[in-house]
């Protein structure tokens, strides 16, 4: 179903890879729509093709069958409206924080002064002021992922894709970053408000998202699309939280 505010729509998307042992279907007949303003998480066992699905949405990979529509138009090639946040931050160690954030902007904004302005805006948005000239080696994991996030936000995408952004952080740091991500998501001040995140952490998915799309093991098929109807902020011991955990688990089992 195409709704007016659909950001991305997957229509019967299948992805196969040719491996030495033959052709492997990683994703099969994936159909769903992400609407503007939604926070969606993709959960599933490892090998369910969650990361492949993100790469298809960003245009880094093309589907073997089916179609992807972005804001109502058929998507071919790289999608410049998407930005990605990676599990291992994807920072260049020889560049400073500001230079890492600026990296994705260079092809889009030719004026270096304007580029600096954008860089500073997003550095401040994620709480990295003061770290501009630090190198990744000088940063904690939490600060490194803030750089990854600032770099993605700086291209002012209409869709933010995140591939397990908290899974290489310690427990406390990830609590802090999840809360700050929600602050950014709900901030209506010209920041992207449609987010799709891959996670293997079910509680994290329930805490953050409006919808959880559950994928089965290889080939990945959608086995559940669950709306999380709980007020935010959400805590594990809230009424209803555990019921959602059980529901997602039962679909994965």
């Amino acid at each position: 179903m195409t709704t007016e505010n659909a950001i991305i729509e997957m229509r019967n998307v299948t992805k196969r890879f040719l491996l030495p042992q033959g052709e492997v279907t990683v994703l099969e007949d994936i159909s769903f729509t992400a609407n503007e303003g939604e926070f969606i998480t993709l959960v599933g066992p490892s090998g369910a093709g969650k990361s492949t699905l993100l790469r298809l949405m960003s245009g880094l990979m093309q589907p073997s069958a089916g179609e992807i529509y972005y804001q109502g138009k058929s998507q071919v090639g790289m999608n410049p409206e998407c930005a990605m946040v990676f599990q291992n931050f994807g920072l260049l160690p020889w560049l400073t924080v500001a230079q890492n954030v600026e990296l994705g902007l260079e092809p889009r904004q030719k004026d270096p002064l304007k580029r600096r302005e954008v860089v500073n805006r997003y550095i401040s948005k994620v709480g990295l002021e003061g770290y501009e000239e630090a190198y990744p080696r000088e940063l904690s994991g939490g600060m490194k992922q803030r750089v990854g996030l600032a770099r993605a936000l700086a291209v002012e995408p209409s869709l933010l894709l995140m591939d397990e952004p908290f899974s290489s952080l310690d427990v406390l740091t990830s609590i802090n970053l999840r809360n700050e991500l929600l602050d950014i998501w709900s901030d209506r001040d010209n920041v992207v408000n449609t987010m799709i995140m891959v996670t293997h952490n079910i509680e994290e998915a329930i805490e953050l998202s409006d919808r959880i799309i559950v994928l089965s093991n290889r080939p990945g098929r959608i086995v559940g699309d669950i709306k999380i109807d709980l007020p935010r902020p959400r805590r594990k011991r809230d009424k209803g939280f555990i019921e959602y955990v059980d529901r997602v688990f039962s679909l994965l089992a």
């Binding site: 003061g130 600060m143 406390l172």
Partner: protein, 168 residues
């Protein structure tokens, strides 16, 4: 709790735990989700962290005035609630005010102010830290001073030139 005093300073100097600001904020957020109070031993178990490691994070949060630790519990202070309720940008200002009161940060900042025209090098700050916290590993204290100081924009540090400067 290990602390040491330096000559000419009445207040004992607290060692600086090597803990990032994100972890400290995460701890306070976690505690607030539990109504603001938790048993330390239970908390360590729940976080699957070593008790010693948990205590180090708690001590860091306590230094910043975010929590206090009556008995075996850790309790969020009003200031902790204020910091978490603040925006990402406001948090820096609040933490900055606290850091300015901590003897180590105060000394480093005073040192930078005195040397305003000269460049203050990494070596000089390391020496200063060794003097202030004689029982601690100066390199460890150094990395915490740099990371908390940067977060609060108390001073800047450039690792290429290995020099400190005051933010204008």
């Amino acid at each position: 709790m290990d602390s040491s005093s330096s000559e000419g300073d009445k207040r004992p100097q607290q060692s600086l735990p090597e803990i990032g600001i994100s972890q400290i904020l995460g701890l306070v957020e976690l505690l607030l989700g539990k109504g603001g109070r938790e048993d330390i031993y239970k908390l360590a178990g729940e976080l699957s962290m070593e008790l010693g490691e948990t205590l180090t994070v708690i001590r860091a949060a306590e230094m910043l005035g975010l929590v206090h630790t009556p008995g075996g519990d850790v309790v969020v202070e009003d200031f902790g609630v204020k910091v978490i309720d603040a925006t990402i940008a406001e948090r820096k200002d609040l933490i900055r005010e606290k850091l300015e009161q901590l003897p180590v940060f105060k000394s480093v900042r005073d040192f930078l102010k005195r040397e305003e025209d000269a460049e203050v090098t990494r070596e000089e700050v390391l020496e200063k830290l060794a003097e202030l916290l004689p029982n601690e590993d100066a390199e460890t204290s150094f990395s915490t001073v740099v990371s908390w100081g940067r977060y609060a924009e108390l001073f800047g540090y450039n690792d290429d030139s290995q020099t400190f400067y005051l933010d204008v």
